[in-house]
Amino acid sequence: MLEVIGLRKVYRTDRREVEALRELTFTVGAGELVCLVGPSGCGKTTLLRCIGGLLEPSGGTVRVDSAPVAGPPAGMAVVFQEYGRSLFPWMSVRDNVALPLRQKKLPRGRVNSLVGEALQAVGLEGTETAYPWQLSGGMQQRVAIARAVAYEPSILLMDEPFAAVDAQTRADLEDLVRSLWQRLGVTILFVTHDIDEAVYLGQRVIMLSASPTVIQDELTVDLPDKRNQLHTRADPRFTALRTHVYEQIQAAKIAAQPSPGPVR
């Protein structure tokens, strides 16, 4: 379970302060798939880095399974948007996936079986000896997902993972995330700027305001668990939900316009 309580982040430079996150409180239950969506520049990445223990918040706490986060917590894996930079170009696909497991000091046999299973789960059998840069963008992001899955996290953070792949690949990868989530029972916090993607993937959608960020609204996606690119997206309920999210994001943008953020 992931708890975010009163999270606040102010970036300070010599001359000014920029309040990125004002006050964020939400919970992601064990085994839940929650999407965070917000207007561009709303501090989604800042939030994710605070949750991942990569960035120190200015206030508030993040708890993973009741333990406060100070530095990257055990049992959490992150999939970054920039797969090309997140994968190590000097290592084969197999070594990229295996390296975090070796850091965990798992026995060699266990590492090999986890790597094999993870690559199979994302549909990349046979690419073990290739280098990431020899693969297409979508396949590279699959490698990054395999690396995260092989790590056996209880919580998976995904930071706009499909923002840089084409629409068809994106649909495939969305279905991949849904099926991995259902099979592995992992908790997923999925950050995106794509409203359709958020509604299609999530059990819940948390909408963020423009920066300085608060929670604009929260929505339970009452679509059937079995989702399908064709039928789910054509479902009137899906359309109604996405309209609601869209309106909230628009409202957040408009609310942000009069004051361009406090600059002190």
């Binding site: 223990g53 990257p72 930079r85 997140s86 190590f88 850091q103």
Partner: protein, 252 residues
């Protein structure tokens, strides 16, 4: 390749023709065939190979020391921001000092022995490596580093698996530059100080009027330079096959 070799052949032909046609005095520039003959005679003597060996030993030891020290210092200084800021102005002051300006100091400390050559070589080559390693360390991709942190890599694992591979292409550039500079300084030290090696042979040949031998030795230093550069390039290809400067076309 054929074009390059034909360019070289034209140069040799020109060096043959100019003295023969009397454009330049053969006393100052003997024809290429004369230089080649002198080279052939020298190559048959043991003293020539001793001189080549002396030069290469000084070069190799000096380069090894400079690379080891440059990489170690570069990783340390580059990885610790405080050290980087603290040493920046010192590095910028020491780096441009021409190594040859240290010749009197070298003679004072080590006379005409190997130590003098090494001092000059190490000083000149060290900065080449250090500066490249500093660039390399600064080039670490923040996303790659955050990936390593998010998977809870130890500080040592981050150096080993992220920082070092990122810096490696720069290290190779540094080694290639340092290898060339080290040869220049090795020959310079032998020429000026008289420590044993090819440079000393060139100086002796010049002062005794053996002009073709002098040219032959100059050619040998040039050949050594080419071989060193080719070797460094091959090593780069071997160890940086993954890097975009080497890997060429990406198969999608």
């Amino acid at each position: 390749m054929i074009l390059r070799l034909s360019g070289l052949a034209a140069l040799v032909a020109l060096a043959e023709l100019l003295p023969r046609l009397g454009v330049v005095s053969p006393d100052y520039l003997p024809p290429a065939s004369g230089i080649a003959a002198a080279l052939g005679r020298e190559a048959a003597t043991a003293s020539f190979w001793t001189a080549v060996g002396d030069t290469l030993v000084a070069w190799a030891i000096g380069l090894a020391v400079a690379v080891t020290a440059g990489v170690a210092a570069g990783l340390l200084v580059g990885a610790v921001p405080v050290l980087r800021a603290w040493t920046a102005s010192t590095i910028e002051f020491l780096r441009p000092i021409p190594s040859v300006a240290l010749i009197p100091l070298a003679v004072l400390l080590y006379g005409t022995g190997l130590g003098s050559s090494l001092l000059l070589i190490v000083y000149a080559a060290f900065w080449q490596v250090l500066v490249q390693v500093l660039y390399g360390v600064a080039d670490v991709d923040p996303v790659a580093d955050e990936t390593a942190r998010s998977f809870r890599f130890s500080p040592w694992a981050r150096v080993r698996h992220v920082l070092w591979p990122t810096a490696l292409p720069y290290v190779f550039t540094g080694i290639r530059l340092a290898a060339a500079v080290a040869l220049v300084l090795a020959v310079t030290a032998e020429l000026v100080i008289g420590s044993p090696g090819l440079g000393a042979v060139i100086a002796v040949a010049q002062s005794s009027g053996a002009v073709p031998v002098m040219y032959a030795m100059i050619v040998v230093t040039g050949v050594l330079g080419v071989l060193i550069n080719v070797g460094a390039r091959l090593a780069e290809r071997r160890f940086l096959a993954w890097h975009q400067s080497v890997r060429g076309e990406v198969a999608l």
